[in-house]
Every structure is written in C-alpha cells, then in structure tokens.
C-alpha cells in the first residue's frame, strides 16, 4: 500500500522527488541519521537529464521502500540487509568508525568529488548565462552594465574558473562514458585517464582563453 509522504507540509497526493529527498535527509524514513544525504542528491535529476522523468507511482514505490527499510530497522527482522551500520550501532550501543574524516584523498575520490562540485558550479553558471542573455535582450544600457561586470578583474577570474569547471566536467563526463562501456578499468588506466582529464582541462581552458583573446583583439 503506497503511503503518503511523511512531510507534514505536503499537499500533493503522491510524493515528488524533492519531497522524497527531504524525507530521507530529515531521517523521516527511519533508516539513517538525520543529515544531508549527498547520495540522494541525483534522485530524480539523473532520470530527468536522461529524458526519462520519473512518474509519481515510481516515487510512491521508492517512498514505500524507504519506509519499509525504516520499519525493518525498528522491528529488528532477521534480515538485516536494509538496516545499515548507523542503526546497527545505535541498537547495539556501539560507536561508528570515521570514514571521510580519515580516508586518504586519492585521485579516484578527488576527481569524483570534483565532478560533483563542477556540476554544481556549472548549474550556477547557467543561471549567470541566462542573466547575461536577459541583460542583452533588455537593451544596450543594461547590457553595458553586464559587460562591465564580466570584463572587470573579479568577473574575469570567475569566468576563468567557470571555463576550467566546464572542461573538467566535460572530460570527467567523457571518462564516465567510456567506463559505462566497460573499458579502461585497469588501475593504471583509471589513473592515466584521471591525470589526462586534469591536464586536458587545464590545456583546453588556456586554449579557449587564448582563442578568445586573439578573436577579441
């Protein structure tokens, strides 16, 4: 039986991806600690980007599974697979060993985080791009303000950072595309493609700026 979202402010008959995320983050689904869950961040957005938007019944099913997970945790069923170490630790009065606080940063994890961060930066950058277009459409005076802002030193630095974020995200995306075909999984290939994507994004950033300077002058 699909249940309504636990969010007390929800008016929708079926949960949306946002509400599901909120319920997970607030610990309402009962299986985790109440904190931001970065793993739930792409919920909904991944499918949307792939052009396969999820339907309300799918979110109802996801919520049902979430609640089921919490219920299992509370009832202490013999199947512990869906409980998780936090619940396990709390139930048995045990501490949890640290993870991100002590794990050594490696090219693997650092580039993965970088891909997430640059993705967020590019989303913000897209808003900036729209603002720039709106300024252009609003007339020469507004556009002049936007142009001055972009061509100021801080504006140029931000733009340079955006360019680098764009290329790092692009190279990371290509790397993931190749991985999705089950190629390049030998450890030396993983490290090689990682360093190549870092070097390529630096070179492409510099090349893009040099090109724009040549065209500009």
């Amino acid at each position: 039986m699909p249940r309504k979202p636990k969010n007390p402010h929800s008016k929708a008959a079926s949960p949306t991806a946002q509400e599901l995320k909120g319920d997970i983050d607030r610990g309402r689904t009962g299986d985790n600690v109440s904190s931001f869950d970065p793993g739930a961040a792409p919920l909904g957005t991944d499918d949307e980007a792939a052009g396969r938007r999820d339907t309300p019944p799918r979110f109802e099913e996801a919520l049902r599974q979430e609640l089921e997970t919490g219920r299992i945790a509370r009832l202490e069923r013999p199947d512990r697979s869906a409980v998780g170490p936090f619940v396990l630790a709390a139930e048995r009065g045990r501490p949890v060993s640290p993870n991100i606080q002590i794990y050594r940063p490696q090219l693997t994890s650092v580039l993965s985080i970088a891909n997430r961060i640059t993705g967020v930066i590019l989303s913000i950058g897209a808003v900036g791009l729209v603002a720039w277009l709106v300024a252009g459409a609003s007339g020469p005076r507004t556009y002049a303000v936007a142009r001055d802002l972009v061509s100021s030193l801080p504006g140029q630095i931000v733009l340079f950072a955006f360019t680098f974020a764009f290329f790092l995200h692009l190279c990371g995306g290509i790397r993931h595309l190749v991985w999705d075909t089950v190629h390049g999984f030998e450890l030396r290939q993983i490290y090689f493609s990682g360093w190549v994507s870092v070097a390529a994004s630096i070179l492409l950033t510099l090349a893009a700026w040099m090109l724009s300077m040549i065209i500009g002058s």
């Binding site: 869950d37 396990l88 630790a89 060993s97 794990y103 999984f185």
Partner: protein
C-alpha cells in the same frame, strides 16, 4: 602519479586526509577522544609510533586514540606483527581479528594511514611516522579494531551467492569450457574482507540501501557463471535506484582491494548487462 596495482603505496601525498573536522557528522558516542601514550621499552633502539583507535565497550567511554611506541627490532616486518607485539608486550587488552597472516582469510582488514588493507600484508616501513591505525571505515565497532560486519554479510546474502539451476540435476558435474571458467577469474578470488565496501563513499552515505562493491562483485561472479540459470531473477533483484545504481564509479574499491580484484569493473559489467537486457 600513476598507480599500477592496488598494493602500491603513494610516495607523495598532498593531503593525508580531507580538510574536514575530525569528528564531523559522527554521533556523540562515536566522537574520538585523546587517549594514552605507551612509551617504548628503554632498551629499544629503532622505535616507531602507532596511533591506534581504541574502544572499550565495557567502560562506556567514547573511542580514543592511544599512541604505542613499538620496538621495531623486536617485532616482525608487517603491521599485524606490530599489533601482536603491542598485545604481547604492552597492552594485552588491544583487540583485533587475525588468523592466516598471509592475506587469504581477510580477518585483519583495517584502515592504515587512511586506506583499507590487510594488516598482515602491509609493511610497517610503508607507513608514516606516526602510523595511524583505525578499524575499517564507517562500521559499527565491537571493540578496538574489531568491526561489526553483520550488515555487510546480510547484504552479501541478498545477492544469493550460490548456484541456482532450473534444469534437472545432471548425473555428473556441471561442465564448463576453459573459456567459460575464465570468466570467473578476478571475481572468485574475493575473500570478503570488505576493504572495498568500507572504502566506498557511496556506501558511506547509503549503507542501508546501496549493496556496496563487495556484494556487487559477488553478484557479478554468479551472473557471469555459465552454470547459473537465474540470471533474470538476479538482475530483477538489482534493478533498483539504490542497490546497484548508487555506484557512481568513484573506484576507491578497485584502488584498495588487497587481492588486486576489480569490483568497479564488475559493477560496470552488471550495469551493461542490465542495459543489454532492456534492448
């Protein structure tokens, strides 16, 4: 710069750990306090310090970090030797799992200098000064370096790691060609030490819902077995937004596997098989 196999220890490191507060996000009873210092015997010439995570369930105190000074001339070359030396000579209450001392049982998996590995196959000389010894990351802790693996075993059970057939029992063994048998190479060798699952950031954030690299490698080991006849059911079981698809190909798993296996590749194979069956 380029790591060729998982047993390579990085020579240069920019960051020993991520720049976050040491107890960030940990529940109050999990926060780590300062512990005792146990000095080396006066006669010791070559001394190395080991910072070891301690937790005593009987005291009710929080976990703490004790510093042990180890006489390197008196103990063997491996980290496990140092731990045994501490237990025999300094503090007999130091608790850890160990059995085979040759990297085949998977008991002594722990976090050394920030990466998960087997204490019996990691050289003391590869560790920093002081060496940092923690239990497997992101686990409920029973005592000191002993992690509660119940949850991970339950997740392993979820992939039904046994041969499933629908055809009648043959009169003899189920035969495989050498080519079919070679499909299992690189997967059947898993010793279930859970270094990989404990190293996986996706599993840190979604331990309850994501199966993790160790269980998924086992899932692939059965999916690619020519004798198994439950492929569709196995894939149905994994077709879920979290169980399989919380893997974001971070590949900390492949970097840390003490047996040199490739859980990341196994998961990519499952994802590919999943797509192939849709088309």
């Amino acid at each position: 710069m380029i790591i060729r196999s998982s047993d390579e220890v990085p020579r240069t490191t920019v960051l020993k750990r991520f720049p976050v507060p040491k107890n960030m996000g940990l529940p109050p009873q999990s926060r780590i306090k300062k512990g005792k210092k146990w000095p080396a015997p006066a006669a010791a010439k070559r001394v190395k310090a080991f910072e070891v995570y301690r937790y005593d369930p009987d005291s009710g105190d929080n976990p703490r970090i004790d510093t042990f000074e180890v006489d390197l001339d008196a103990c063997g070359p491996m980290v496990l030797d140092a731990l045994i030396w501490i237990k025999n000579n300094v503090d007999p209450t130091l608790t850890f799992r160990r059995s085979c001392r040759e990297g085949i049982c998977g008991s002594c998996a722990m976090n050394m200098d920030g990466t998960n590995w087997l204490a019996c196959t990691r050289f003391i000389s590869d560790l920093d000064e002081p060496a940092r010894i923690y239990p497997l990351t992101s686990r409920a802790i029973v005592k000191d370096l002993v992690a509660d693996l119940d949850h991970l075993y339950a997740q392993y059970r979820m992939v039904q790691p046994w041969l499933q057939s629908k055809t009648p029992e043959p009169d003899r063994e189920r035969l495989q060609s050498p080519a079919e048998r070679s499909q299992l190479d690189g997967y059947y060798e898993c010793i279930l030490c859970f270094c990989c699952t404990s190293a996986c950031p996706s599993h840190w954030w979604n331990p309850a819902r994501f199966l993790g690299p160790a269980a998924l490698l086992q899932a692939w080991r059965w999916l690619t077995d020519s004798r198994d006849e439950a492929k569709e059911e196995r894939l149905d079981n994994l077709e879920d937004p979290f169980r399989l698809y919380r893997c974001h190909t971070i590949l900390n798993c492949t970097r840390t596997c003490p047996k040199g296996l490739n859980p990341g590749k196994a998961i990519a194979e499952i994802k590919k098989m999943m797509i192939e069956r849709q088309s």
